[in-house]
Symmetry: C2
Subunit: 203 residues, 2 copies
């Protein structure tokens, strides 16, 4: 920052501005906001980030973020252990959990195959997934990845990897979103929703 | 956060979402970004905020944020000590400094009088300003506050406070911004710029 009166302020602004989507001006605004808080409150803020990074674990079964060695989903006795939903990251675990429509377990890949970003299969946790299926007990794998080229590539990679294992592979239904007006649905989605039409059931 | 797998994650997200303009979703994105960084990097991030809040000082002369008892502007031998620019906060100090048009000193009020927000004169540093003027040596006070009702109220308050002291009080010129097309200038600003017209000088 030009003409800054404080090195301490500069450091804090610089650290904030390294975060995605936060420019110098927003960073300064956030730091000045923190400066108006009590020392105790700012300690709690800073320490919560430090503690998170230091103490967070990866679930040794599904690779999801967890406070313990086994996450609360994998260790829950009420989940269906025969169905595993493969997702990109923890954000997608939270999204699927929020639907309350899925009662199986997850497998978090940690990303999608993306040659453009230099992310290959070895950077993601496919081995853990294979290991879980080979160990037995899994009947269905639900591929719940983004409908993007990277998601499609990753879907295909998993399909090839698991092809000869005795497990059913399913993927999310693609179609017109609930609440969408048909005239605004894009044609690829609309086409797919016609191809994969389902029997009408009056509810 | 519903269905979160981690209390540590929740805490960090909660702390971020207390910042202005940052909602739950953005907070989660920022925290997951930090989680991908090394422990060392996250320590630097958290510690920079804690250190800032703990060690930052207010300049005992101008009330600006400073690493030392006297800020680098007040302690600079090359500044004109007879002119004091009164500003709301450190952001305005930086803005005026960036123009490179002002070589005097500052006085940081720490806010503007705003009855709506419960900010009265006693919450701001008017006493320090009076003290500096009474100590002598100040010839001109430049009121560089926002052109808002709060700014106007504060200007008027200072004007009344300093009315009987031997000091010239000036304020920023209001007018059409450099680069603005006239047809889009608002009428109050355009009216003021006609009232306060200045002699044309060919440069």
């Amino acid at each position: 920052m030009t003409n800054s009166p404080s090195k301490l302020l500069d450091n804090a602004v610089y650290e904030f501005s390294k975060l995605p989507g936060i420019g110098k001006r927003t960073a300064l605004r956030l730091v000045l906001h923190l400066l108006r808080k009590s020392e105790e409150e700012v300690n709690v803020f800073g320490q919560s980030m430090i503690d998170l990074r230091k103490n967070i674990k990866r679930c040794k079964i599904c690779n999801n973020i967890s406070d313990t060695d086994t996450c609360n989903i994998c260790s829950s006795p009420s989940r269906d252990t025969t169905t595993v939903c493969v997702v990109e990251n923890i954000k997608e675990v939270i999204a699927v959990e929020n639907t309350a429509q899925f009662h199986g377990l997850y497998h978090v890949l940690g990303g999608l195959i993306s040659p453009m970003d230099g992310i290959g299969p070895s950077d993601l946790d496919f081995d853990g997934l294979l290991h879980r299926i080979r160990a037995g007990g899994v009947r269905e794998i639900i591929l719940a990845l983004s409908a993007t080229p990277e998601g499609d590539t990753t879907n295909f990679y998993i399909y090839r990897k698991l092809g000869n294992l005795p497990v059913e592979i399913t993927t999310l239904a693609r179609g017109v979103a609930v609440g969408d007006e048909l005239e605004y649905a894009d044609e690829v989605t609309l086409g797919r929703s016609i191809m994969n039409r389902i029997k009408f059931e009056a509810t």
